[in-house]
Symmetry: C2
Subunit: 195 residues, 2 copies
């Protein structure tokens, strides 16, 4: 009989990441993940539709952290400040320092597998779409809404990549601030090619 397993989802996720990193994503089965935690395969499938889902679970919540902040940003704020506020909120809520080891491990697994990279690209494309929708709901017109949303995702991806670098210790929100400044320098033409 199915019964509630306290913390089963978290145990399964931790076990999955360890196995994916050790044996490779392709070579690991849902049954092996369940077994390594002492849970049944049936319990695994009560929590996740498939093994890929372990790495992408919680995407709605992740996306809502950004879009809720877009909605909550001060009235009449410049569009760029609205998306900067959204990125900062998401960084603080979703990516505290304690999460960095998990994020590093997850990224290593994704980088090793082309299909997972495609899935991650798609997640970012959906995030941009969701932010653009939230901006339009605030009355931001096109093409500004799409430009702002895509730029926000670009800054997030570049900053996240630095955040998980081996020796990096700064908070994600601080790195994002630096990357936004780089983006502004870029678009105003103050960055010159050295060669």
């Amino acid at each position: 009989m199915a019964r509630w397993e306290p913390g089963a989802q978290e145990r399964l996720r931790a076990a999955a990441l360890t196995l994916f990193a050790e044996r490779g994503y392709e070579s690991t089965t849902a049954a092996e993940i369940a077994e390594s935690t002492g849970l049944t395969e049936r319990t695994f499938f009560r929590h996740f539709t498939d093994k890929r889902e372990v790495l992408f679970h919680g995407q709605d919540l992740f996306q809502a952290t950004f879009t809720d902040a877009v909605t909550a940003a001060p009235e009449n704020a410049p569009v760029v400040e609205v998306v900067r506020f959204a990125l900062r909120s998401a960084a603080e809520q979703f990516f505290p320092d304690e999460r960095r080891p998990y994020s590093r491990l997850r990224q290593t697994i994704i980088t090793a597998n082309v299909a997972l990279q495609e899935r991650e690209s798609l997640k970012m494309a959906w995030l941009a779409g969701a932010i653009a929708t939230a901006l339009r709901e605030r009355g931001v017109r096109e093409p500004q809404a799409t430009l702002a949303a895509q730029s926000a995702v670009t800054v997030f991806v570049v900053a996240f990549d630095r955040w998980i670098a081996p020796t990096e210790t700064r908070a994600l929100a601080d790195i994002e601030t630096e990357i936004w400044d780089e983006l502004r320098s870029l678009t105003t033409g103050s960055l010159t090619t050295p060669a």
Copy 2:
């Protein structure tokens, strides 16, 4: 015996687009595409690996139009000018006015199918990666190379979307100029949310 069919590839492509638009992408087979042009299925597969390839054929050439221009841009040009130059070169070589009806039809087919949308997203992600690589080869450091490449792709996608709009008549390169200006206004904070 296999023989060379003059213009076979273009005839197959035109027939495929017509059938995809009329019957839907999923419902059209490679055999039907070949048949409607009076060619054999075998000839179809000499030109395309599968029916999806008809819509994504020539991606290397498309990408090279951008990256060759990055390489050829004037020395010491601001990074943003290098990518603006690349977008303008690609627009002029790849998307002259005569191509607009084809681009509109292709987009209609892609918009109707989620798997094709994913493939198109991936094509854009690869394009950004290729532009970033070409920029690094010019000596542009990170994160500027990635920021510039991603921004270029964002501007291209937004401008392209306007270029294929039903009543649009301007050249793609002119629309891109306008979108770059919008992006600069966005990042410098001069765009205010109305609500």
